[in-house]
């Protein structure tokens, strides 16, 4: 049995820059993230705050030649991903970590059948353990499709992605991710392009599969409500930095960082109560980000020290870390 205390993934002080005309976009600025075995972690933040960049850097699928990692380490099971050889990264991608992308339509190849595409995943995953027979691959694909409750999996295998609805396509993507045993699942906004009822189904399905297999999951989302219902621990991200991390119970009861508070207040409630003013301002430019805390230009409680040096994560109570100078009263 896996131990929930064992650290599976540990991102330490990760910086990622993108090359653009006129300099570097300093997107990630000191990201710290820990995922334990079998843990469900949520990564919450608004559009363009670096959630997907973080995940892509774990799998090393950032656009080749366009990025630069000045410092940082990503430890997966104690080994630094950034120092791995190509062969080892291939193994990591095909046997250890699986990713589910936001848009299932773009993630599936329109000219190959579903069976073909799932079969490929199983085939390459098995290639590291001596390969697998064709018939067995087919059986495994059907089993995976069954597990995500797709009707008539045998027929589904000979269908093309365009013949399925959005929710069914996302189920196929999940089936691909779980078709071979993995230790970590990265779900990048799996329900965002779908309707609420379908989103709810997809999330429940993911939860069920993760629990059954004791797989760790990183759920990227921009919705605090989804993170609350789906995860054991939430990381809140703003402009390439982790600003706050806590368990959902703590985070929703007493959020500390001004950004978390603002974000939480902006969510409309089904119990009514009107709308709040939101957070004034907008994301800073990554070309010349603020030198200190990146939230400081939008923050209402800023102090002189905020624009000097970026704050470090500080534990204000158990399991509750905040990167803000307000912690030092």
């Amino acid at each position: 049995m896996k131990n929930k205390e064992n650290i599976l993934l540990n991102i330490k002080d990760l910086h990622v820059w993108y090359k653009v005309y006129g300099g570097y976009l300093k997107v990630l600025n000191s990201v710290h993230l820990i995922v334990r075995e079998g843990e469900r972690v949520g990564l919450v933040g608004e559009t363009g705050c670096g959630k997907t960049t973080t995940m892509k850097s774990i799998l090393q699928i950032l656009p080749p030649g366009d990025f630069y990692i000045p410092q940082g380490q990503i430890f997966y099971k104690g080994r630094d991903v950034l120092k791995m050889s190509f062969k080892e990264i291939q193994r990591l991608r095909s046997r250890e970590i699986a990713m589910i992308f936001q848009d299932p339509t773009a993630a599936l190849n329109p000219v190959f059948t579903i069976g073909n595409q799932i079969g490929d995943v199983i085939k390459y995953s098995a290639a590291f353990a001596g390969g697998m027979h064709k018939e067995k691959i087919k059986m495994r694909s059907i089993k995976a499709l069954k597990e995500v409750y797709l009707p008539d999996p045998e027929r589904m295998c000979i269908n093309y992605p365009f013949q399925l609805s959005g929710g069914m396509r996302q189920r196929v993507c999940i089936a691909m991710a779980i078709s071979s045993p993995r230790n970590l699942l990265i779900a990048d906004e799996p329900g965002t392009s779908l309707d609420v009822t379908i989103q709810d189904q997809i999330h429940r399905l993911l939860n069920e599969l993760v629990e059954k297999r004791n797989t760790a999951i990183i759920l990227i989302t921009h919705s605090l409500g989804v993170a609350r219902e789906m995860t054991d621990r939430i990381y809140v991200m703003y402009a390439g930095t982790i600003v706050e991390t806590a368990t959902p119970e703590i985070l929703f009861k007493n959020p500390f960082h001004p950004y978390t508070k603002g974000l939480l207040a902006s969510v409309p409630r089904i119990s009514g109560g009107g709308m709040t003013q939101g957070i004034p301002g907008k994301l800073p430019s990554y070309l010349n980000p603020p030198s200190g805390c990146r939230f400081q230009p939008r923050c209402e409680q800023e102090r002189p020290i905020c624009s000097e040096e970026p704050p470090q994560l500080f534990e204000i109570e158990k399991d509750h870390l905040v990167a803000c100078y307000l912690t030092q009263r």
Partner: protein, 337 residues
């Protein structure tokens, strides 16, 4: 009663919009995007139209502004029938009904400056002399809290929230009385969404506007709309005041929708109907199931549901529902515990 009818600014009766998509042995194949929808909007109110994608919300919006000609049915605006295509509508009614689209990135011309974008409605719909355009545009921008610096910027160079503000300013330019908001904030982040929604509420009070607010976000609806109508496969299945709507949802589909909303507080969780969990998907509008279109996903399915399409009934004043569960007066039961 008479007062109430005078109050109605927009009335939609038995509106149908079919799209022909092909031909087979039995004749033409239609997508029944909107299939007999009746509702009305009172002056100064916000009606929320909620539904999944493919339920025909946007088709209603486009038909009301005149981008589509209705297959049948009537659209009455201030006691005048405008259920004809836009080319044959009087200019005065076009001026009165404006629309804000979902994605500001594609509804604003990227090659035009903000000034050019806002000039067009002024030139067509108002009698303002040309030399006062500049002044009027600055005034419009001020209304949506944008500084005059934006005049000569082009849409790709500004943020998503600001683009949507420009789109709102464009809709306001002709001084309309009804604005159709077709998912105005679904492409934006929550912190920006809150700002835009607040602005819209302020403008509504200031200019006594009537909104038809289309969205798939129920929790947003709760805070914006006075009344909510739920659509499923081209038909409206429940209409109610927004407060009663969340306290006492009747239609099983409504309950399914509310129970799927991700929430952030304990208080909200208590509001969710616990019994219904969502199953299945919305069928294709080409093959709408016979009888009640929801019966394939409904947990309270009865034999009658697959045969007879239910009628809209008034469950309590202002609360309409289209479901067999509430058909007979003695059969009134509320499913929500």
């Amino acid at each position: 009663m008479e007062q109430a009818t005078n109050n109605e600014i927009l009335k939609i009766e038995k509106l149908k919009k079919y799209f022909c998509i092909g031909k087979d042995k039995r004749g033409l194949i239609y997508v029944r995007a909107v299939d007999g929808v009746t509702f009305n909007i009172k002056h100064g109110e916000t009606l929320g139209l909620v539904g999944e994608s493919g339920s025909g919300k946007s088709t209603i919006a486009y038909t009301v502004v005149g981008m589509y000609r209705p297959t049948s049915g009537q659209i009455t605006f201030k006691d005048k029938n405008i259920g004809i295509e836009a080319a044959r509508r009087p200019l005065s009614s076009k001026k009165e009904i404006q629309i804000v689209f979902q994605d500001p990135g594609s509804s604003l011309n990227p090659r035009q400056t903000i000034k050019q974008i806002l000039t067009l409605p002024l030139r067509i719909h108002t009698q303002i002399p040309k030399r006062q355009f500049q002044e009027k545009i600055v005034e419009l921008l001020e209304k949506v809290e944008l500084s005059p610096d934006y005049l000569y910027k082009s849409p790709p160079s500004i943020g998503g929230g600001e683009k949507q503000m420009v789109a709102i300013a464009r809709a306001m330019a002709s001084n309309p009385s009804v604005i159709i908001l077709d998912e105005p904030t679904s492409a934006l982040d929550v912190s920006i969404q809150a700002k835009i929604i607040n602005k819209l509420i302020d403008l509504q009070k200031e200019m006594s506007l009537t909104y038809l607010f289309i969205t798939h976000d129920l929790s947003l609806m709760r805070n914006v709309a006075n009344r909510i109508a739920i659509m499923y496969l081209g038909k409206i299945c429940e209409v109610a005041e927004s407060v009663t709507f969340f306290e006492k949802p009747l239609h099983p589909y409504t309950q399914m929708l509310i129970s799927s909303v991700p929430v952030v507080t304990k208080e909200e969780e208590d509001l969710k109907p616990q019994k219904i969990i969502s199953t299945g998907e919305i069928p294709s509008p080409v093959n709408i199931p016979p009888g009640c279109s929801f019966h394939l996903r409904c947990p309270y399915k009865m034999p009658i549901c697959s045969k007879v399409d239910p009628e809209m009934i008034e469950f309590s004043p202002g609360h309409m529902v289209r479901c067999h569960l509430f058909a007979k007066p003695d059969n009134k039961k509320i499913i929500k515990e």
